[in-house]
């Protein structure tokens, strides 16, 4: 049985993992870089050790150092969190060699899923749908037309030697097939001296839908339903929710079975995520597998009621899964937003700095996973994510309304944050409708811009308060004598209370 876990990570996810450790009576060991002495994960751990300079490759990625700390402190296991060493097959192996339990899959699963081509082949063999396309270049026109018919429209025809969009044609209509292939081929020939082409299914309005799975070391595997992660900016998830607003029960069951098949195909053990690209008609195709805990795992926890870190630890202990598929249901709706130290109104420029004050939204249905505190200085060396805010509701509408009321008052001062941007997302009608695709943010740049609202009265009040604050501070600085003089001067004017009470 695991009694002490070293958490090879920092920030909110380190604290997240330690919380489950505490609940299970397991001691936690934090590691930290020289830039992270003040990080809350150091304070929350039972033990804490410095592992090197700020740069990740000299600290959080320095796995020999981490392993040596684990050995010296007698940690039975290492939890890698997400990022850093979480999908490093070599590290998984080194832990094994040293007799330390790596809380994650073995090197084989990481390697197989880490390589796109191997993963695709493995999925095809396991009967998991992948984006239809040709495996090798096509030269013959008839072959190309036949392949296109097999894949089904729309397709993308690409020069096999290509790049930069040259020799690329989107084919959407039956009557355009031959002319498009011909055009692509001749363009390819002109540009690259080679008229071979690839054909790939074109997903017109893609949705990113992923399935959470849990697998034990005894061949049992279950899924914990889907997460909809289509709200992305530059391929980074911004908002996630579960259930997916476009999901149907029959498709969910089938996708879940395919997710389990995908995990079983690599003898997976631990928590993992199968990502699918899905179209409006819920045709879905394997994209990749994340062989670790995801940033967005809390929404699954809120809706399914399973503590994923706890289950990771039970699995790492060699225990059998504690839930059967039929034990699990989706209960209500959850949405997560990722709060970053960045300026959404200045091209999302990172905004590290010292946190002045945090004002948290709490209460019914709100979960806050964070790590910063008043006076904490966000280091410049790592991911600028400050926190994750999760709203749970009885249904999707309630979850959105709850997230809105939370975001309206959530404030972190001293640095710029993405909170205003996240609130704008909640207010976009297409988000509220729910049928959005991965193009959501780029399609709604106008609606997501800082609004030009007029707040004249409020602005006037803010200006008055600023002046009062400013002059009071001047008086304070000038000392008590000056202050009392000044006040009595004001009192001459203001003895009769100016604001009447109702």
């Amino acid at each position: 049985m695991i009694k002490k876990i070293l958490i090879a990570n920092r920030g909110e996810i380190a604290i997240r993992v330690m919380r489950s450790c505490r609940e299970m009576g397991i001691r936690s060991v934090a590691v930290y870089s020289e830039a992270d002495r003040a990080s809350a994960h150091v304070q929350y751990a039972d033990e804490a050790y410095c592992i090197g300079p700020a740069a990740s490759n000299e600290s959080y990625l320095n796995y020999e150092k981490i392993i040596s700390v684990a050995k010296e402190t007698g940690a039975d296991a290492i939890h890698p969190g997400y990022g850093f060493l979480s999908e490093n097959a070599e590290f998984s192996n080194r832990c094994k060699e040293e007799g330390i339990i790596f809380i994650g899959p073995d090197a084989h699963a990481i390697n197989t899923m880490g390589d796109k081509i191997t993963a695709r082949k493995t999925m095809i063999a396991a009967g998991v749908p992948v984006v239809p396309g040709t495996a090798k270049p096509i030269i013959d026109l008839d072959d190309a037309v036949e392949t296109i018919h097999k894949i089904g429209l729309p397709v993308m025809v690409k020069a096999s030697a290509g790049g930069g969009g040259k020799g690329m044609r989107l084919v959407e209509k039956e009557e355009d097939i031959i002319s498009s292939v011909k055009a692509a081929k001749s363009e390819a020939l002109a540009a690259f001296g080679n008229d071979a082409v690839y054909v790939e299914k074109y997903i017109d309005s893609p949705h990113h839908i992923e399935f959470q799975i849990l697998a034990d070391q005894h061949g049992n595997c279950i899924h914990l339903f889907e997460r909809e992660c289509s709200v992305q900016r530059r391929h980074q998830k911004v908002v996630e929710e579960t259930p997916s607003p476009i999901m149907r029960p029959d498709v969910r069951a089938e996708m879940g079975r395919h997710a389990v098949a995908a995990a079983k195909a690599v003898n997976y053990a631990g928590a993992g995520t199968i990502e699918f690209i899905t179209d409006d008609d819920l045709n879905y195709y394997f994209l990749e597998m994340n062989t670790r805990l995801q940033v967005e795992h809390p929404i699954t926890e809120q809706v399914v009621g399973v503590d994923l870190v706890r289950e990771q630890i039970h699995i790492a202990n060699g225990e059998k899964l504690r839930f059967r598929q039929e034990d699990l249901t989706q209960h209500g709706h959850a949405i997560e937003v990722r709060v970053y130290a960045e300026d959404p109104d200045n091209n999302f420029m990172p905004s590290p700095g010292k946190i002045k004050h945090i004002h948290l939204p709490l209460g019914l249905g709100i979960r806050h996973d964070g790590y910063v505190y008043d006076g904490y200085e966000i280091p410049i060396y790592y991911d600028p994510m400050i926190s994750k805010l999760v709203a749970w509701g009885n249904n999707r509408q309630e979850a959105i309304q709850r997230m809105k009321r939370a975001l309206e008052v959530y404030s972190i001062s001293g640095v710029k944050t993405s909170i205003p941007f996240l609130l704008r997302i909640m207010n976009v009608p297409d988000f509220q409708k729910g049928g959005y695709t991965t193009h959501f943010i780029q399609n709604h740049t106008e609606a997501l811009k800082k609004p030009e609202e007029e707040h004249e009265e409020l602005d006037d009040l803010a200006a008055i308060v600023s002046l009062v604050h400013h002059t009071n501070n001047l008086l304070k600085a000038a000392g008590p004598a000056a202050s009392s003089n000044h006040e009595s001067a004001w009192k001459q004017f203001g003895r009769k209370k100016a604001v009447s009470r109702l």
Partner: protein, 166 residues
């Protein structure tokens, strides 16, 4: 005599009276009577005509504050005699510096200009990656590139000059 600069405009402002939490002030040609309590350092509970606001002030510089109410923010500058004097002596505030630098360390991803090139205001000249994000740095007005001090892929410090203008 104070003025405040909000949304680019100087407005005369005067605290007419302050009795405990009760403040009467004139801003422009309007009179406001408000109930105002500093509940935490720089955080005020304001009640005006029954409406309740929680206004958080943060000083950006000595006389410049950012006021935040929920997700609405407003920059406020206190304009006193000293500010007016400094303004009368100084030049155009919108003047660009003579170089581009980044506020934080990072790595140069892409340089989009060459030495001697003319660039228009708003054009991106360099892309820098920091905190796992790429940021585009633009010129604020038409400039001519004098010298490029870094190469693509180079690690840079915060506030290090990257590109000089003529």
């Amino acid at each position: 005599m104070y003025e405040v600069n909000i949304k680019g405009e100087d407005k005369p402002i005067e605290i007419l009276s302050q009795d405990g939490q009760q403040v009467k002030a004139r801003l422009g040609d309007k009179i406001y009577e408000l109930d105002l309590l500093e509940v935490e350092d720089g955080i005020y509970s304001v009640i005006y005509q029954g409406k309740s606001y929680r206004i958080e002030l943060n000083a950006r510089e000595a006389k410049k504050y950012t006021a935040q109410v929920g997700q609405h923010t407003l920059d406020v500058e206190i304009v006193d005699a000293e500010t007016r004097y400094a303004r009368s002596m100084g030049g155009d505030e919108a003047e660009d510096a003579d170089h581009i630098s980044t506020p934080m360390p990072g790595q140069v991803v892409k340089i989009l200009v060459e030495e001697g090139q003319k660039v228009k205001g708003g054009e991106t000249v360099i892309i820098v990656s920091a905190m796992k994000m790429e940021s585009e740095y633009k010129v604020q007005k038409d400039r001519v590139i004098k010298q490029i001090l870094v190469k693509e892929g180079e690690n840079i410090d915060g506030d290090q000059p990257l590109i000089l203008f003529e």
